[in-house]
Subunit: 268 residues, 2 copies
Amino acid sequence: MKRQVYFISDGTAITAETLGKSLLTQFEQIDFEFITLPYVNSTEQITNIIELITHNQRKQGTLPILIVTIVDTKLRQQLKQCDAFIVDIFSAFLTPLEMELNAPSVSATGAQRNIDHHQYADRIDAVHFAIDNDDGAITREYDQADIILVGVSRCGKTPTSLYLALQFGIKAANYPLTEEDFGSFQLPAVLKPYKNKLYGLTINPLRLQSIRQARQANSRYASMPQCQREVREVEAVFRKERVPFMDTSNASIEEISTRIMDAAGLRR
Amino acid sequence: MKRQVYFISDGTAITAETLGKSLLTQFEQIDFEFITLPYVNSTEQITNIIELITHNQRKQGTLPILIVTIVDTKLRQQLKQCDAFIVDIFSAFLTPLEMELNAPSVSATGAQRNIDHHQYADRIDAVHFAIDNDDGAITREYDQADIILVGVSRCGKTPTSLYLALQFGIKAANYPLTEEDFGSFQLPAVLKPYKNKLYGLTINPLRLQSIRQARQANSRYASMPQCQREVREVEAVFRKERVPFMDTSNASIEEISTRIMDAAGLRR
């Protein structure tokens, strides 16, 4: 039987999900079922949620876990009537922070918070930059790039470029290294002027093979010898040209992105 | 003088940043300076961090705030020697969770956690789907789409599609409504078979004008009458064709994405 976990928030619930999942991945032996309830802003909604949880709990038999990010104190109090194990994030940290900062916290709900249009525009611009400069499509904007990712096809360049843009507003281009670039064991001429912006991604050939196989089954592109050869040659180029690189085989997009930023000294 | 905030983690620090920022936006009157320190896994690193923070604090005069997600108990203990206000997320919640779940938590560091290759592949596929199906580029894959975003140029379709893919593994296509689609006050023929997958985005004409102006200054495309006309006509189409829609003017990408999922009943 899965243990039910509810992420309950007055906003997007992304904070509750991010924190909750990072806490619960510490319990690998337990199977969780996640239910997300965003935009909870009224006593009526809380009443309905308590009813839903109580109903589900009768079937489950175990105490549900609630990961809660609701700013309004009254709504949080109301939710405590629920028979559940509650991780109440704002209760735990807001009051101590208010004392330390010697300031009251704003009781605005997530939904009413103003967004920073300037920072928002940076992220949007970075997303369009990543798309325009995906897969070596164009190279004339490389002087504006914060970083240029290089590696074989399907090693994770595109999702990493987009994550860097969306999460951090970083302008990341990416350029695929293909067979034409190997053999000579050097970087394509178009990349040479930007050597200090390059960051290499590599991948375990077995993992690469399984990714390519899912896309183009039984092609030469997805064959084991081809994957092995490409990875071997691209790593030789990275080493010879002193391009810093990392292995993406067992890393999440988040981890690849933050490791690159850390290594390249890019500010978030 | 800005108040210094350090996000310190044994992994990417994304959880610490997400939670920390959502706590600190509750204090609008205070100016914070954010410093992120990811991949902190050794006593040597903690020693250096305490030195850095102590050094900075002498200049600042105020107590720094540490938002910490480190699993290893010994490293957390060591960090407590630092003269700072510490929000220790795992200390606050892991022990109570261990008791409730009647299970010990894994003391693996974030870096050593295994990633779920299956879920990872879904996200990557969704990212490639979003790029291939960006801006109406192709329409033949719409039967595979979870959702198709429609709206005028620069109302937020592309970043939202990509966020839905990266964060939630949702396959989102997007299709721009242009002048050719107006006047007739109906949906383009290519969208009609997928009416139940459509979700509209609209935007305040003033905000649209400022976004377009930044991209193509003083063009007809960025002129106020043009922005007003496009928004008015696209909203008329949404209403006539009963396409659900939302205003993106004051919403973050995260909020647009989660509202769409909520409205369209898409599971995370």
